[in-house]
């Protein structure tokens, strides 16, 4: 059954009156500046709204309700304490431009977070402003470009990206005015070094790497890659999406990376919120330090203050109006304090234990792994290539059938180079018992794929909707509600627009 839209629940003249201030008089702004028709907003009571959005929430899977092994997204438990503490009134009500003299509480937390992240990565400095991983990447590649320009090498515009990389890597390189050269992966999951050696040269700006890679394996030749790229005059960018796998064990700076971002909403357990907000803080080694995005927090005799372009004249600039997703940063800070120094490497310990256990158990249940000879990092790639060939049941069908079993699906069809793949990341906060239930469900689905493949092709059956017609969604674009009375007028508009 479908839920009505909030607009359809309303009645003209109904309102949540406790939320209405009382203006003193009518509007006295010049008439030519005013709108003539009220916007289409719901006219509902407070209870209508509360009930509607509570019911909608129940149509979601989430970490709090379901096992959510979405590879590459690190869907670990988001501690409630972090939420409560970030929403303390002093933090929540602080205006972004409030004087530094009444901002020392926040700035102390952010300064310490910068320092902790430096210790955890080996980088020399951090800027916390990027609002998501992709914005961190943008900052990182922009700094690489600024570095080459500063050294009088404007021709260095090529960014090397493995074929297994996140889509944000090549998209970012383009946004930074660079061209993208794709690096092939060998069948054991490591990069093809001969091709790398042949591709680098005087036009190389740098390489963007995730290590462990999106294939769920640690790139063992990282030392050689570092030498090849640095000798060619390029820099190394570390995509921190998979930091959870090596947290507290390996410093990205020690691997030879010059710049990196961390997705705090992955490794540091801040919520994903149905698609954000995230935080993609960037760290740099000494070479790129002059180019860090502003503002960041520094400390002098008077206390903490914001560093701007006067402190950092070569900065790539500002990435948003203020200082980034402060509320997310506070949640990550709280998480770090709760976990503490000795807890950090246990995160990667148990993330790896869960991934390798799940991989082993699924292999024993008859599933095929993309890289069976390798250790899993904190995630692994399973391929349903032969199942699809023999039964017609695809990775997508498995994903949808898992929903019916009460599990969120793993990432499907990524990385792109493994056919019919599921990228599975259990995270350290799941218990052995949950993993065992997942293996049972997968085993059952494998049996059903062989026995009654058609059933799986129709899944899910127990969700609020069945499979949706994506082609129709794109062809007959319906991206906003049009009330029945306006529908006729809208038809005309559509006809005119085509």
């Amino acid at each position: 059954m479908s839920e009505l839209l909030i607009f359809e629940r309303g009645r003209p003249g109904r309102a949540a009156r406790a939320q209405q201030p009382r203006p003193e008089r009518d509007c006295d702004l010049p008439e030519n500046l005013l709108r003539t028709q009220a916007p289409l907003l719901p006219e509902v009571s407070e209870l209508d709204a509360v009930r509607h959005y509570t019911r909608l929430s129940q149509r979601n899977f989430s970490i709090d309700t379901h096992f959510y092994p979405l590879g590459s997204c690190t869907m670990k438990y988001n501690p409630r304490a972090a939420n409560r503490l970030a929403m303390l009134p002093g933090f929540l009500e602080r205006h972004p431009l409030a004087p530094e003299s009444v901002s020392q509480g926040l700035m102390a937390c952010l300064f310490e977070l910068q320092e902790y992240l430096q210790a955890l990565t080996g980088m020399s400095a951090f800027s916390l402003t990027p609002m998501a991983g992709a914005q961190g990447e943008l900052a990182g590649v922009a700094m690489i470009r600024a570095h080459h320009l500063d050294r009088g090498e404007p021709q260095r515009t090529e960014i090397l990206v493995p074929d297994a990389a996140h889509g944000t890597n090549p998209a970012t390189a383009t946004m930074c005015g660079c061209t993208v050269e794709e690096l092939p992966t060998r069948s054991d999951g490591d990069l093809d070094l001969e091709t790398l050696q042949a591709m680098v040269g005087p036009r190389t700006a740098g390489i963007m790497l995730t290590n462990p890679s999106t294939l769920g394996v640690f790139e063992r030749q990282i030392g050689a890659i570092e030498r090849i790229v640095h000798e060619a005059g390029g820099l190394l960018y570390y995509d921190g999406a998979n930091l959870n796998a090596v947290l507290g064990k390996v410093l990205p700076a020690r691997m030879g990376f010059d710049v990196m971002h961390i997705n705090l909403h992955k490794t540091f357990a801040t919520p994903h919120g149905g698609g954000g907000p995230g935080s993609g803080v960037v760290g740099v080694g000494e070479a790129l330090r002059p180019f860090l995005p502003i503002p960041f927090v520094i400390r002098d005799q008077q206390g903490f203050r914001w560093a701007g372009s006067a402190d950092c004249p070569k900065t790539i600039g500002r990435l948003s109006a203020f200082m980034g997703n402060a509320g997310v940063l506070l949640r990550a800070y709280a998480y770090l304090r709760l976990v503490g120094r000795s807890g950090l490497s246990r995160i990667s310990d148990y993330a790896a234990l869960n991934a390798n256990y799940l991989m082993t158990a699924l292999r024993q249940a008859g599933f095929e792994m993309a890289f069976p000879q390798r250790r899993a990092s904190h995630e692994f790639v399973l391929t349903l290539k032969s199942v699809a060939k023999s039964t017609g049941v695809t990775a997508m069908d498995f994903a949808k059938a898992l929903l019916d079993e009460g599990f969120h699906a793993p990432t499907t069809y990524f990385p792109l180079l493994v056919p019919e793949c599921l990228l599975i990341e259990p995270t350290e906060t799941e218990s052995k018992q949950t993993l065992d239930r997942f293996v049972e469900a997968m085993t059952l689905l494998l049996e059903r794929a062989e026995r009654a493949p058609r059933e799986l092709k129709e899944a899910p059956l127990r969700m609020p909707v069945k499979r949706l017609d994506d082609v129709r969604a794109a062809r007959r674009l319906d991206v906003r509600y049009v009330p029945p009375t306006d529908a006729a007028a809208s038809e005309q508009l559509n006809a005119a627009g085509q």
């Binding site: 203020f322 304090r337 310990d349």
Partner: protein, 458 residues
């Protein structure tokens, strides 16, 4: 191990299944030389109780009694229900709704949000959010460059009356794409775009004109004339608007003879706490003709196998996970939870509530201006009309006056001189519906005291 559930027995069984002796063996593919690490700078774990006490103390240091700051972030009343609902685990801990069947809640919320934002701005389509208002403008500029195929110059006119933090952000994000941003001066008597200066660009190839409404001074621009100028010169108009003000003001889709095709802005006033600058969300809406140039997520309504309506992410071929280096933007994670809160906020306010909030804001700003300018020497820098922010010129050193007022718990406004050297001792002050008559009286008293010789000000 605060959030790790494994018992010793679990761990042992798991190691046996894998066939290794210790967890450390799982890391044997990592070169040993890389595996030395000193985390001495990080303190050891504390309990939730200890951390709560510690962070309460820190947060309390940042509390102010009264805040009259605006400049892109605004204090508004947020109904209790908004964040009670938005922080439900089902919203708070879900991810991007890739698996549509398991994400109908979030998807429907976004569809409702898209409807509200499209209507509020008078455009056809809204995306599912960007990071904040400033980065949304940067994306709007990139979008205009892709969409305006008549223009070859990639030249953008940025009015000086656009919030300088936005102009800086646009310059950073578009820096490497061969886009040139030209500054368009403001008229020093009105605080609005200098139309004579604009006219000087009439014969040039200009790709887009950014039109802020209200502008950084709080002043309302003659948007009809600006939109028509853009239309007449083959220039793509980009509106940067305050969503609360749109409950009163003409929506960008209707500016001038045929509106501007792209509108964007900061969504924070719609139920998002000030929270030091983020997380907020940027909104971006456009004409249907521009939809394929839109960056970010978009939710569409479609039918399922049984012919029942449902929601899904659509037109994904624009996005980085499909199109990679040829995507419209690199954006992936956006500001989903903020959009959820804003949608609930707009539902609770409704058209009448939002109009009342906007009108009350305007009237509180009028009261603030009146109270402040009744103090000898304090004057309004620009004439009406304005929305909920005004520029005051003080008869003394603005920095010292503001510092003095901050000591008594009032953030009285933003000194404008660092951004506009000609606006010496000028302060940008904002009053929203949250400011009562008493608050405004206290502001005026405190300002007068800070200005008086007895207050140490000369």
């Amino acid at each position: 191990m605060p959030f790790i559930p494994h018992t010793t027995e679990d761990t042992e069984q798991m190691l046996r299944t894998i066939g290794i002796a210790a967890i450390d063996d799982l890391f044997d593919e990592i070169p040993a030389a890389l595996r030395q690490i000193d985390l001495g700078a990080i303190p050891d774990a504390i309990s939730e109780q200890e951390l709560t006490r510690f962070m309460r103390r820190r947060a309390a240091r940042d509390e102010l009694d009264l805040c009259f700051l605006g400049a892109g972030a605004y204090e508004h009343h947020v109904p209790a229900a908004v964040w009670e609902l938005a922080t439900r685990g089902e919203y708070y801990t879900a991810y991007t709704p890739y698996q549509a069947e398991a994400s109908q809640g979030t998807l429907q919320v976004i569809y409702e949000y898209q409807t509200m934002m499209a209507s509020l701005t008078g455009e056809d389509v809204s995306n599912a959010s960007l990071y904040d208002g400033a980065s949304a403008l940067a994306e709007a500029v990139l979008m205009a460059v892709r969409a305006n195929r008549q223009s070859k110059s990639k030249t953008i006119l940025l009015p000086e009356g656009l919030n300088p933090l936005y102009a800086d952000t646009v310059r950073t994000i578009t820096a490497s794409q061969g886009i040139s941003c030209l500054s368009l001066p403001y008229d020093s008597s009105s605080g609005r775009i200098d139309t004579a200066a604009l006219e000087q660009h009439a014969a040039e190839d200009i790709t887009a004109l950014v039109i802020p409404q209200p502008n950084v001074f709080g002043a309302l621009e003659d948007v009809d004339a600006l939109a028509d100028w853009a239309l007449d010169h083959g220039v793509t108009g980009i509106a940067v608007v305050n969503p609360i003000s749109l409950a009163l003001l003409e929506p960008p889709g209707q500016w001038g003879r045929s509106g501007v095709p792209i509108a964007c802005g900061e969504g924070q006033p719609l139920g998002i706490p000030l929270s030091s600058g983020g997380p907020y969300f940027g909104f971006l809406t456009c004409r249907k003709s521009h939809v394929r140039q839109l960056p970010g997520r978009l939710v569409g309504r479609t039918l399922d196998l049984d012919g029942r309506p449902g929601f899904t992410l659509t037109l994904q071929a624009r996005e980085q996970h499909i199109r990679r280096s040829r995507a419209t933007s690199n954006i992936c994670t956006n500001q989903g939870l903020m959009v959820t809160a804003a949608t609930i906020h707009m539902s609770l306010l409704g058209p009448e509530g939002l109009r009342r909030v906007a009108l009350t804001c305007h009237q509180r700003a009028q009261a603030l201006l009146k109270a402040a300018t009744s103090i000898p020497g304090v004057e309004a820098v620009f004439p009406a009309p304005y929305f909920h922010e005004v520029v005051l010129r003080l008869p003394g050193d603005a920095g010292r006056v503001l510092a003095r007022m901050a000591e008594s718990g009032i953030a009285a406004g933003l000194p404008l001189e660092p951004w506009y050297p000609e606006l010496e001792n000028c302060v940008l002050a904002c009053a929203t519906e949250t400011k009562t008559e008493d608050d405004i009286a206290r502001y005026a008293e405190s300002l007068e005291a800070a200005l008086s010789p007895a207050g140490g000000m000369r």
